[in-house]
Point group: C2
Chain length 154, copies 2
DNA sequence: CATCATGTAACATTTAACGTTGCATGATGC
DNA sequence: GCATCATGCAACGTTAAATGTTACATGATG
């Protein structure tokens, strides 16, 4: 299994919600990406706290986008899902008394910090609106829509 | 547990070996970093194949450095330990038919690719000799040596 | 008030890294 | 030659984090 797909998953969901234009239930969204409604609610909880999405109970309830897609970046979403660990590699011990370990960790940490900064900067420059536009371009050439019917966005 | 500490671990071991200047057994090296001799042999197997280290059996056997420390970079070592996965994040599915997923994965993959390239480039610019020099500098100021006696390198 | 949908805690499953055991092979020293 | 040391390696056990699942409470709608 891929290590952590929260960011990828939640972006997928957000674009689907954006296409729908009306409340979509956790069950429908979960079905669209082959997972469980509860997993989905967990994922979206962080986004709700930040006001990126809204959830409503009862008949006709579900999830809706509650933000300007051009004002939210991948970095915002990354933070909203709890800033999951970026790297699958790391040091053996965090507070090593061994000088060899210190030298090694220092070199590795420097490199990882640089890469992390680059990645987050790049995330910060991509808005949800840009992703959505990218999707619509793909739509223009092909037609499949992942088994998920966006509703009135025909 | 930290995700993958092969690179960190093997670098630690290499510097210790470099300090020793004579064969060191898996058991000694494993003791120095609080792990198991078998784990260590697994780690070093890839380095042996590439000729970075040599192993000898029998009395007085063990591991020795078999390369010029200034000619081997962190990137070489990274490759020698099997190029472990760099990122802890990834896409839900690798071959998505969903156009939304394609748009999302495309954006994320671009960012990850850039970060990976930066990281590996940086690894490629750090030699084992540089790490060793860093270690010796630290030695000059303090004195602890991680419970591992390098032998004649007193 | 029946039904729908979310909120959430608790538990189960899965996967990859890591650890451990057991035994084979080869080298050294007597 | 033989006891001992050390690696080589396969097979299995352990563990932690992500994800999936169940169960039940809460609130909204018709």
């Amino acid at each position: 299994m891929m290590r952590d797909s929260k960011l990828s998953g939640v972006l997928h969901i957000l674009l689907h919600m954006a296409e729908a234009g009306r409340p979509v239930t956790s069950e429908t969204l979960a079905g669209a990406m082959g997972t469980n409604p509860v997993v989905l609610r967990r994922l979206l909880a962080g986004l709700r706290e930040r006001g990126f999405v809204r959830s409503e109970k009862g008949h006709g309830g579900g999830w809706t986008i509650a933000c300007d897609l051009s004002a939210v970046t991948l970095r915002d979403v990354y933070e909203a899902v709890g800033e999951p660990t970026i790297f699958a590699m790391g040091n053996r011990s965090e507070a090593p008394g061994c000088l060899v370990e210190q030298a090694v960790n220092g070199a590795l940490d420097d490199a990882f910090d640089e890469a992390r900064t680059l990645l987050l900067d790049r995330f910060g420059r991509v808005t949800l609106a840009a992703l959505s536009a990218d999707f619509r371009e793909r739509m223009a050439s092909r037609k499949s829509r992942c088994g998920f019917d966006a509703g009135d966005a025909a």
